[in-house]
């Protein structure tokens, strides 16, 4: 039996769960002491929401506009640096830029705002540099997009990957040291005070992405993904919309980069390699290409595994098992195996291309006991040889064809093909073989 919830209940459930989540994060952040092992939960939520945002932005590009782009880490890096450079307090400049004579930017956005409008400026100082970083990244993405977006599929991926690497090298360039501190870390910049901050910012940004996807622009993006020629024939300007999607995606990648800078409290260009892009891509694939809620779930799962649940695999003992195998790097082996399993059995990811809905969730939950009972059978049927599956498929096709031919004949001649079965109270059930 399927349960259908009405819109009021759904809205109430959404509001309540969001409010509960925020309260839990807020209370947890203040109650759990930094020594407790549950502190990891807060870290996972902070970092998870940052990666949820960047995964959603990548999904906008790869899953909804059909542009296979791998430049996300580069844009994150740029967002992080822009944020850090413009929020280092002037008192700390000499310490941070010790090899570059205190740098050439001698002010910070936060201080300028504080001196102009006081306490309000201090809090605005948390938001404005983030948005500033996003806008700067968007402008750079616009310029990169002009040549790059004329490419298609794999070539686009290669070009964006290249640009991301160029950005990384650029920020480490010694000549730019007075601005970027060369290959040294940036630190002592302003960060947020509560774990709720990245959660709320990421939440707002993801909501904006969702609203965009449900607008006319979102439909145009999906149309381009489905069929470029048809989309162009409908009057959609291909280049303009690809550029738009690229710029918006980069904007949010920049914002998540600046959140990451705040989260880590020191930032250097070294970790923003292609591997980071692949990790984001992994989140998108595990969550489901074309599903924003999938990206969110994927991000939290990925971060929880890599930061928390699977940590023990690197340090010798995990879930009470200890082995010589479990040394630094073993976590990645297990991760690789898990990814293979996901690709083999869940090739569409956790959510496929569907978004989260309360109806589906409630029904999914109610069918769990039955599903667990059926699980051995399902596994068996998954392992059935491909030949059998193919045969079944062609059988079904032939049957469909026959049915269609029958119905066409019926329509054309007006007479039924078969005499109807004698009417009885009994229900006749045909099994799958059609016997």
């Amino acid at each position: 039996m399927k349960i259908q919830l009405n819109n009021k209940i759904k809205a109430a459930l959404t509001t309540i769960s969001i409010a509960l989540f925020l309260i839990l994060v807020f209370v947890g952040d203040n109650v759990i002491s930094s020594g407790s092992s549950w502190r990891m939960l807060i870290t996972v939520i902070e970092k998870g929401s940052i990666f949820a945002l960047v995964a959603a932005s990548m999904n906008l590009l790869n899953g909804f506009t059909g542009l296979f782009s791998l430049g996300q880490a580069g844009f994150m890096l740029m967002g992080a640096y822009t944020y850090a450079i413009f929020t280092i307090p002037s008192a700390s400049h000499d310490a941070v830029y010790q090899y570059f004579g205190g740098g050439i930017i001698k002010w910070s956005i936060v201080e300028v705002l504080e001196s102009k409008i006081g306490v309000v400026g201090h809090y605005l100082g948390l938001f404005i540099p983030i948005i500033f970083a996003g806008i700067l990244v968007a402008i750079v993405a616009y310029l990169i997009g002009i040549p790059v977006l004329r490419l298609k599929s794999d070539y686009l991926a290669i070009a964006t990957l290249g640009f991301a690497e160029i950005l990384r090298a650029f920020f480490q360039w010694n000549t730019l040291g007075p601005v970027t501190n060369g290959s040294n870390v940036l630190r002592k910049y302003t960060t947020y005070h509560s774990a709720i901050f990245p959660v709320v910012i990421a939440g707002i940004c993801i909501t904006i992405i969702l609203l965009l996807l449900n607008s006319t622009y979102g439909r145009a993006f999906k149309a381009i993904r489905d069929d470029e020629i048809a989309a162009e024939a409908m009057g959609i300007n291909l280049f303009k919309h690809k550029e738009l999607s690229f710029v918006i995606s980069s904007f949010f990648a920049g914002i998540s980069g600046s959140l990451l800078a705040m989260f880590q409290s020191t930032i250097s260009a070294t970790p923003f390699t292609t591997q980071m892009t692949y990790e984001i891509l992994l989140i998108v694939v595990i969550g489901g290409i074309g599903s924003i809620s999938g990206s969110i779930i994927g991000a939290f799962l990925f971060i929880a595994c890599s930061e928390w649940w699977l940590r023990g695999l690197d340090s010798g003992s995990w879930l009470g098992i200890s082995s010589d195998l479990m040394r630094s790097g073993f976590r990645k082996v297990i991760f690789a195996i898990m990814i293979m399993l996901v690709v083999l059995f869940y090739s569409k990811g956790i959510m496929g291309d569907k978004e989260f809905s309360w109806n589906r969730f409630v029904n999914w939950w109610l069918t769990r006991p039955q599903a667990i009972k059926n699980w051995p059978n399902k596994l068996k049927s998954k392992l059935v040889s491909k030949k059998k599956a193919r045969m079944a498929k062609s059988d079904a096709k032939a049957r469909l064809k026959q049915e269609k031919a029958d119905s066409d004949y019926k329509k054309a001649s007006g007479t039924p093909l078969f005499t109807p079965l004698p009417i009885s109270d009994q229900v006749i059930v045909f099994d799958k073989e059609g016997k």
């Binding site: 439909r219 999906k222 989309a231 024939a233 009057g235």
Partner: protein, 234 residues
């Protein structure tokens, strides 16, 4: 009306259209028939600005639209319903229609046209929430035509609407095409199914390897022995 004058198109080294002239007067169904590779689809793509033209002009209501962008051409009232249907498989029927009305801003008129489209194809009205990919071939073709109509065109160009469809479905589609003409939309039709196309068209052009080889009213061409031999299999 649409007028094509001395249009030439090259694909790399191939001279696909060799100076063709076509007129599509108002209130008529004009069809373009011919074998595979004769250049029929190229003609339509060239009109829409989807392939670049070497020389020649396309006039639409006495303005030269030769060098215009596709979106401006769509805005001026010409729409192409592309070959092989090319509906958006991962969008619902309703969303497909919305994309068709992409360049229009007037929500009330769009809603009205949506209803007209559903009236024209009741099969689609039953399937508004179905994904494009899950429709049958005939339904997909209906969707492609309905989507094209959503831009409120004054010239509808159909590229092989009968491709891969059952005879009964083809009949349905062609009767709708006639209905569309009666609504005041000009139709330029490309077909390999020469008989069906000539039956409903007011005037037709026959194309052979990039040139117009014959032209005449639908009835005249139907009874022409050369057409019968080459395209009607008689």
């Amino acid at each position: 009306m649409l007028a094509i004058r001395d249009l030439n198109v090259h694909y790399g080294g191939i001279h696909a259209l060799r100076g063709i002239d076509i007129d599509v007067p108002d209130g008529k169904i004009i069809s373009l028939i011919g074998a595979n590779g004769a250049g029929k689809s190229t003609t339509l793509k060239a009109i829409m600005g989807l392939v670049s033209k070497s020389t020649g002009h396309v006039y639409w209501d006495n303005t030269d639209i030769t060098g215009m962008k596709t979106k401006d051409i769509v805005n001026s009232g010409i729409i192409l319903c592309p070959e092989g249907r090319k509906i958006f498989p991962d969008l619902t029927v309703d969303e497909n229609l919305s994309v068709g009305a992409y360049l229009r801003k007037d929500k009330v008129a769009i809603a009205k046209d949506r209803e007209i489209a559903y009236d024209l194809f009741p099969r689609l009205a039953e399937r508004t929430w179905q994904l494009g990919a899950t429709l049958s071939g005939g339904e997909q073709q209906m969707l492609a035509v309905a989507r094209a109509l959503m831009s409120k065109p004054r010239l509808l160009m159909l590229d092989e609407p009968s491709l891969g469809l059952a005879p009964l479905v083809i009949k349905d589609i062609f009767s709708v095409i006639q209905k569309i003409k009666e609504e005041g939309v000009n139709v330029l039709l490309i077909e390999q199914n020469a008989k069906a196309a000539l039956d409903i068209s007011d005037y037709a052009y026959v194309m052979e390897s990039g040139v117009i080889s014959m032209a005449g009213s639908g009835k005249a061409l139907l009874s022409d022995p050369r057409v019968q031999k080459a395209y009607l299999g008689e």
